[in-house]
């Protein structure tokens, strides 16, 4: 009953000032976790945005999070992708690695294995761009840390349900 689960939640919201503050305030005010959160407009007229949230909690807490989100006036709908079935999750990362010699060559080789692209290079550094599930990004970053100084920028998770159904 009290197991902690991680859920990916998508909320369609009106694209208006303060809506993100309402969502974040809800999470901090009620003591819920945010592991990652991303937001961008998704309709042609930019009137609606999609917020993707990765959160964790007991099943009862996850239910509360969804109900509380639904209660916010500018939120049109809330979807628990984790509970609703199979879905695709992706995260984008930019990873800067400062290394030379064998380590530099090794970083390039690992990047190749991970299908990461070189977005920028200098004599002593690379910036790799990488897309994938969060665990893939985490293992890539971990490997890179062994090779030199690393700086990471991550987008947070975006997700969408598999199949032909459209929200």
């Amino acid at each position: 009953m009290d197991t902690i689960e991680r859920h990916t939640i998508a909320a369609l919201v009106e694209n208006e000032p303060g809506v993100l503050a309402r969502v974040i305030g809800l999470f901090s005010g009620r003591g819920y976790n945010i592991e990652s959160l991303t937001v961008a407009p998704v309709t042609p007229d930019e009137s609606m945005s999609r917020i993707s949230i990765v959160t964790s909690g007991t099943p009862m807490m996850i239910e509360q999070i969804k109900a509380q989100l639904n209660r916010l006036v500018p939120i049109a709908s809330v979807h628990d992708l984790t509970a609703d079935g199979p879905h695709v999750e992706r995260e984008f990362a930019l990873v800067k690695v400062v290394a030379s010699g064998a380590n530099r060559r090794e970083s390039l080789r690992i990047a190749d294995i991970f299908h990461a692209h070189v977005a920028d290079t200098t004599i002593e550094s690379f910036v790799f761009s990488l897309t994938g599930r969060r665990d893939k990004i985490e293992s890539f970053v971990e490997l890179m840390r062994a090779l030199g100084d690393v700086e990471v920028a991550r987008s947070g998770v975006v997700a969408i349900a598999r199949g032909s159904k459209v929200l």
């Binding site: 000032p17 109900a67 939120i75």
Partner: protein, 586 residues
């Protein structure tokens, strides 16, 4: 309807009039001057000048709760808005429809730390149901009408509309929207057939049912109260009410077990503990109601009707959640019940009532009577008996007096009882009474108060004086912040840290200085005369009833205990020490 050209400030007045608003509570200031000017030039709206903005919100709450209409507040920017925050939070916790209009610095100064600027929408975001900042005068009409729609529909609550001064001056087109259809906000009102069928089956099969109803019944409207009463009588189930729900079932109904929870009656709490089917109607399993969660109604199948999905499964997992408006759902349940012609099995039901009657014999609200000193419970009991035949409304402050009022005052109808339940705001009662009295000029409106609470918004005596409102303030003066002291007694070895009400004013002289009537009783035989006089004067009254200083509020479920672990009196508390986990609870 053709649109009309007018300023933003005029639109505010016009929208309020179009919403059927008759009274607004407010306090002027620099950022709302255009609205006050527009107010001056008309005579459809009545403005009531409070003495602090917090009072305005509580007055609007009292007005709203006693009428079922939306209460309206108008305050200035900065401190005007921040002073309103307590009232807004109070209205949010108790689901009271309030629209609060706040002035704001002109749009080009927002964010510049201008004089009397504050981030009103930021500050009020967590303490409102929704809020708006109007940045274009052409959005004004739609926003104001939408604010009323959101405030009163679904689970009601406070809505803030922040109005920059330049928008109040700007001219635009006003048109009342025919109907508000919100893009994303659509509360669900009706239950599905299968939910209703299942609920009826569960209730019909119950051997030991209980109905546990709350403020949602009152918010849903008079029809919900009628339907609840009919449901209770039809099913023959006992019914208990929360603090917010008092009046939802007539207190004289034999099915009524009294209030439940921390200071509820023994029979109500024991029946909650022992029931096999619980029907929760418009209540939210608050911690003051449930006691220790893992021991809450351990053998009950639970049905929960609530309009707010987030209230369901928040504290207690229920077997049948029903999202919808209480009146709609109860109506459907009764229809199915009647159609199926259900008569519950008489045997087990008789047993259940026999058991309940045994619990009732405990007479848990009983107290030690005295000839020499006024017992606070006795004062409330007499107040009840002597106002019974009048058109009476009761407000309270927060503390022991509030619980004694809930225990000993009996309400036959909804909307007669205004108390700060969720937030527990001391200082609520007097401004709320002012709001009630404005809505019901000929009624008897009594604020049952404590001597500490009343001082928190005592400045509103001037409001009562200005508008000649004959509110009656019935102070149970025990010279202590009694409820805090009671907890210090139970949990902190009787070390009364800062809970003595030192340097109290002379309430009789204080009344006099506000042009009100001051009365005092110190002995039981003076009490009836005091109440008689209080009720007969057509002026505001402060009645200083000097009660037993040591009396505590019983029965009580100590924090962290279960419904069947009640304390009944001072002797009781010594025997059962409170657990450490209970101590940390509020």
């Amino acid at each position: 309807m053709a649109s009309e050209r007018m300023t933003g400030a005029e639109m505010v007045i016009r929208a309020l009039v179009d919403q059927g608003v008759e009274v607004i509570f407010g306090y002027p200031g620099g950022a709302v001057l255009p609205i006050y000017d527009a107010l001056f030039k008309q005579n459809k709206l009545r403005h009531v000048l409070v003495r602090q903005e917090g009072g305005a919100v509580h007055a609007a709450e009292g007005y709203a709760r006693s009428t079922g209409k939306v209460g309206v507040v108008l305050v200035t920017s900065g401190p005007g808005a921040t002073n309103a925050v307590t009232g807004l939070t109070d209205a949010l916790m108790d689901s009271i429809p309030v629209v609060c209009l706040t002035g704001q610095v002109p749009t080009h100064l927002i964010g510049n730390d201008a004089f009397q600027e504050c981030d009103t929408t930021g500050i009020t975001r967590p303490c409102t149901k929704h809020n708006y900042l109007v940045k274009d005068v052409d959005d004004m009409a739609q926003t104001l009408h939408e604010a009323f729609h959101i405030s009163r529909s679904g689970r009601p609550g406070p809505v803030v509309v922040d109005l920059p001064k330049d928008i109040q001056f700007a001219e635009g087109d006003y048109e009342m929207p025919a109907e508000i259809v919100h893009k994303t906000y659509k509360p669900r009102l009706k239950a599905t057939n299968s939910e209703v069928e299942t609920a009826v089956e569960m209730l019909a099969g119950a051997k030991r049912p209980i109905v546990y109803a709350g403020g949602g019944v009152i918010n849903s409207g008079p029809r919900a109260h009628e339907l609840l009463t009919r449901l209770v009588r039809t099913t023959g189930a006992p019914c208990t009410l929360t603090l917010m729900g008092l009046g939802a079932l007539p207190a004289s109904d034999p099915h009524f077990l009294g209030m439940l929870g921390m200071h509820g009656s023994y029979e109500a709490n024991m029946a909650m503990h022992g029931c096999d089917v619980m029907l929760c109607v418009g209540a939210r399993f608050d911690d003051r109601v449930t006691g220790r969660l893992d021991a809450f109604a351990p053998n009950a199948k639970k049905i929960h009707i609530d309009i707010d999905p987030s209230s369901i499964n928040k504290n207690v997992l229920v077997d049948l959640p029903i999202i919808g408006d209480v009146a709609h759902v109860l109506e459907d349940i009764l229809k199915v019940w009647d159609a199926k012609n259900i008569t519950p099995d008489g045997g087990p039901r008789q047993e259940w009532w026999k058991q309940i009657d045994k619990w009732r014999e405990k007479d848990s609200l009983n107290y030690q009577k005295s000839d020499t000193i006024i017992k606070p419970q006795y004062a409330i009991q007499r107040l009840y008996e002597m106002t019974q035949d009048r058109d009476t409304y009761i407000t309270t402050e927060v503390g022991q007096h509030q619980m004694w009022a809930a225990q000993h005052f009996k309400f036959e109808e909804p909307k007669r009882w205004m108390t700060s339940g969720g937030l527990g705001t001391m200082g609520y009662g007097l401004p709320a009474a002012i709001g009630v009295q404005l809505a019901h000029p000929d009624a008897t409106v009594v604020d049952i108060a404590g001597e500490a609470s009343i001082l928190m918004n005592i400045q509103e005596m001037a409001t009562a004086a200005q508008y000649r409102l004959p509110v009656k303030i019935f102070i149970l003066n025990n010279q202590y912040m009694g409820m805090v002291r009671q907890w210090q007694e139970l949990l902190h070895g009787g070390r009364y840290s800062e809970t003595y009400s030192d340097a109290l004013p002379d309430f009789v002289k204080l009344a006099d200085s506000f042009g009100a009537v001051g009365l005092r009783a110190t002995k039981p035989d003076e009490l009836d005369d005091l109440i008689t006089e209080m009720l007969s004067v057509d002026k505001a009254v402060i009645a200083d009833v000097c009660v037993d200083k040591t009396e505590n509020c019983f029965p009580m479920i100590p924090s962290g205990a279960a419904h069947n672990e009640m304390l009944f009196g001072p002797g009781d508390s010594a025997e059962k020490p409170i657990s450490e986990s209970g101590m940390v609870l509020v």
